[in-house]
Symmetry: C2
Subunit: 315 residues, 2 copies
């Protein structure tokens, strides 16, 4: 049983109350606590030594990454982050200087985005470090963007370039907070999420939440320089397009809007964010499932990402 | 360097913003997010296998304890809990039935207190389970009770009976949410906190935050049956009073109010909470430091709790 199956099994029995607008299943929980015109966003995210970073990772980057991942989830709702709590589980013999550097990286990012670090706790984890961030944010009631609003005929967009994040970007990416808020303020975005587990898998979650399907154009998917380089390396078996579809930790924005607004969006985007690519990678379809089109035709992408498709291709 | 020293070192550099009312240092962070008449409370707390529970602990009780500890911090501000996120770090080969039972214990407690469980995440912790709870609550602006309001002449009160929690109470205690709200609504409480690290150590934090001292009456400190029993056991070296002063995980309320209101409080309490003892255990003094009075006179309690005092006594 994987994480998603476990969550699906636990979901129906979770306690609830009248303030819940969106519970588990989207990028953040959404609550109505009575703030006039705004909803509260609530999210936690943990990074674990040996999984999300290593003992050699510069500590400032560990702190940056821990908070940036959580901020990316606030961006995924077009929200404004407000305050964070930091849970640091450390071996007993931790080095104080290392902890201070973790906080330095975390604080620098927090300050750039107006986030208050209002406390947290340290606890003992004898074998490996774990950092969990709890984050509060808010969003205008009419601008909170969920995964579930995609409609047939929508154009699908993605920011940045995908794949190969583990070469370094996963440690110093900047969460797309300003970009997401700009989108929500200026366009009628139907569905929005951030990319954390890889485009193919994450898009599938958006499609399921929206009860629609999608067809991607292989030639339009933006592939990062790292994914292209890795694809040429003799130790890598992952072609660049496969990396862009299935590598995790991109932390870019994935969203849909009515195809009629696509050109206007691309024009406005170029003016406001000239340094960040925006690509239209496909369209939402009424038929369920996720397909990809290349010069050889249209094929299904398998549930577990691109692996199954790639295997078929080589048959 | 212990947890408190580490936090003190990190505190001055933490990022902040205009919504922060109380940052790190009290039982919860307190934020003004614009809810009319109310403040938002924000707290995280983690329990770790081998430290806060064992591999043998019934899983329902692990879930109960993880949430109850965090709810106790909301009680410590006289707040109303609203919603929780659950971070579960698990070995790869976790048993689904065990996780479901953890959630069952957690959900039952959440439902009793109107708390929505709005999601969270599972991540990997190869060596031992860790559960971190992030909790949101609210409190009326004029009823939020901090640690820092104690005044010379105040009477010091504690609910319940102290010590020996590890005999079992730490796994199934009920957080004192209703009691704390009743106190804030009906009395002018000056300072409030919950007991997690032991009366002597926790009271010292309240005194430091309020820049006052205290004198306790040894005979008035309520000692639990478990602490008395353990004190008689041949393997225990801890006298019952020492256990009541220094054992952790009591999760009772510690508070102060003007001594003139003490009798009225004790009378009203008995009517409203006939099953929960309330004891006046001493008074706040203008002189700093923590002292205890018994039949042999008044003595200082050492910084690290009661140990130093006990050692002196046996000389």
């Amino acid at each position: 049983m994987n994480e998603f199956e476990l969550i699906a099994r636990l979901l129906p029995s979770l306690a609830t109350n009248d303030s819940v607008v969106v519970a588990a299943g989207d990028d953040c929980a959404v609550l109505d606590l009575g703030v006039p015109g705004r909803l509260v966003l609530f999210k936690t995210d943990a990074v674990v030594e040996g999984i999300h970073f290593t003992a050699d990772t510069p500590p400032e980057k560990i702190g940056h990454k821990a908070l940036a991942r959580c901020l990316s989830d606030i961006a995924a709702m077009a929200g404004q982050p407000n305050s964070a709590l930091v849970t640091l589980a450390l071996p007993k013999d931790f080095a104080v200087a290392r902890v201070e550097k973790i906080y330095a990286g975390l604080n620098a990012l927090a300050q750039r985005h107006g986030v208050a670090v209002v406390g947290g706790e340290t606890t003992t984890s004898p074998e490996r470090m774990l950092i969990s961030i709890a984050l509060l944010g808010t969003v205008a009631k009419d601008q909170c963007l969920l995964r579930s609003g995609a409609k047939p005929g929508d154009a699908i967009f993605v920011t940045g370039q995908l794949g190969g994040s583990l070469a370094g970007r996963h440690l110093d990416f900047e969460p797309r907070l300003a970009e997401a808020r700009w989108l929500a303020e200026h366009f009628s975005i139907h569905a929005l999420m951030d990319l954390s587990d890889g485009l193919a898998g994450d898009l599938r979650h958006l499609l399921q939440a929206s009860r629609v399907g999608a067809e991607l154009r292989a030639a339009s998917i933006p592939i990062s320089r790292e994914a292209k380089t890795a694809g040429r390396g003799k130790f890598s078996a992952k072609p660049p397009l496969l990396a862009a579809l299935t590598d995790g930790e991109d932390f870019e924005l994935l969203f849909t809007l009515d195809a009629k607004s696509a050109v206007r969006l691309l024009d406005a985007w170029k003016k406001h964010f000239p340094d960040l690519p925006l690509a239209c990678i496909g369209r939402i379809t009424p038929e369920p499932g996720l397909r990809i089109r290349d010069e050889r035709g249209v094929r299904e992408l398998a549930v577990r990402g691109y692996e199954h498709f790639a295997a078929k291709k080589s048959e």
